[in-house]
Amino acid sequence: MNRVQTEDFDINDEIAALTEGRSDIGAVVSFTGLVRDVTLTLEHYAGMTERELSKLEADANARWQLQGVTIIHRIGTLHPADNIVLVVTASKHRKDAFEAAEFLMDYLKTRAPFWKREGDEWVEAKDSDDTAAERWK
């Protein structure tokens, strides 16, 4: 499941949505990205974003044994300590849950069409994000 939204998300609720009523999940990993120190405005390419997030989910499901995947990305204006992004992975085993969550974040950072602006300045992409994504090839 993936969503793009202006509202905040609730990690407990999102984990419950993946796990409730099942007893075949042994490991849940959540990654939350937060705003540090600055005020950011996030814009995205509506339509392409949803396609890219669905593709990331499908890729992760093809590579790891997962019982569930959630990706939520916020847009609009966000303040210090606000949540930006949430990835949750559920699996039988911790290795699958951890690796899939890292993969999703690395790819999201390099392929999902979101852009951050800090005041009038667009945030520049980091080479380290490209390097991180490379390792999954």
């Binding site: 990205g33 996030l42 814009e43 995205h44 390419y45 339509g47 392409m48 396609r51 990305h73 930006i84 992004v85 974040m105 999201l108 950072k109 390099t110 392929r111 999902a112 069409p113 979101f114 852009w115 951050k116 602006r117 667009w122 945030v123 520049e124 992409a125 994000d129």
Partner: protein
């Protein structure tokens, strides 16, 4: 052809999107950029550093040498910075 511009490219060009008739020689993404750069200083500034240009044809990432075909939309944007 419908073109969309995002983030710093939208600011430099001054438009979020536009419909254009492209000349026949425009076959791939790089050709399209070359042609757009002839349209004024905003475009020139936007596409100046080709290393920092990313494109998508019909909402799929496309390289500079990707053939355009007959797309519904072509988008240009800087490297993404979400997450």
């Amino acid at each position: 052809m419908k073109l969309l511009y995002f983030a710093s490219l939208r600011q430099k060009i001054g438009l979020p999107e536009e419909d254009v008739d492209v000349p026949a020689y425009v076959r791939n993404v790089a050709d399209l950029i070359d042609w757009l750069m002839t349209r004024g200083p905003g475009y020139e500034a936007a596409f100046e550093n080709r290393k920092l240009i990313r494109a998508a044809i019909d909402q799929e990432h496309a390289k500079l040498d990707a053939l355009l075909g007959s797309p519904k939309e072509v988008a240009f944007f800087p490297p993404v910075t979400g997450g």
